[in-house]
Subunit: 124 residues, 2 copies
């Protein structure tokens, strides 16, 4: 864990720092730490949600395999891309990011299924 001392040492113009500058750095450090905790909370939530998502795609894979349905469904994928792009606009994100995100997740779904020999590769 980076300490307040680490931050002080990397802040410019700190060679002759006085009390007020140290106090200011303490405040910056406190704010940065609080934001990082929020980022860490979000990352933990997202990782756990993605773990649930992969459980669902595995279930889709089992279902499709059991009923001889094709793994890929281009129409479903087009709908997902359009929907995620719209959600990105709504939440003030770059729509291109939402599409990249879906592609990233789909690549992982394919990777999962490649590791399970003989399984289809449902793209959800």
């Amino acid at each position: 864990m980076a300490t307040n001392e680490n931050l002080s040492s990397i802040a410019p113009g700190n060679s002759g720092s006085g009390v007020s500058e140290d106090a200011s750095l303490d405040a910056v450090w406190a704010e940065l730490t609080a934001i990082r905790q929020s980022i860490d909370n979000i990352d933990a939530a997202v990782i756990h949600m993605l773990a649930e998502r992969f459980k669902f795609t595995q279930e889709v894979g089992r279902l499709k395999a059991a009923h001889g349905l094709p793994a890929a469904d281009p129409e479903r994928e087009r709908e997902q891309i359009a929907r995620l792009r719209a959600l990105a606009v709504e939440s003030r994100l770059d729509p291109a990011f939402a599409e990249k995100f879906l592609n990233f997740i789909i690549a992982e779904v394919i990777h999962h299924h490649e590791r399970l020999a003989g399984r289809p590769e449902p793209v959800e």
Copy 2:
């Protein structure tokens, strides 16, 4: 939207389908639709959480720039990777995926800051 008819048409051995086979396909379609709705809900939640995450990294960028702090913090990044890998194990995900996920998000953070000329590129 793919319809039940679409699914019927792609299911093998359906050329002479009877009533019971149709009923079975209805059940499969209902289950697939329910799973897809869960996947869509998760994707919407994740997109909105990532939108919040990018707001926090923008705040980190402002804070670091205002106080002359370096954009990159390798120690923080090492901590994040270790933490996400542990979270992945806990949620039965591939730890390598968690690390890829963080790298994917960091690439987007850098992309955001490249679009904002003169801004630093905090890697959070």
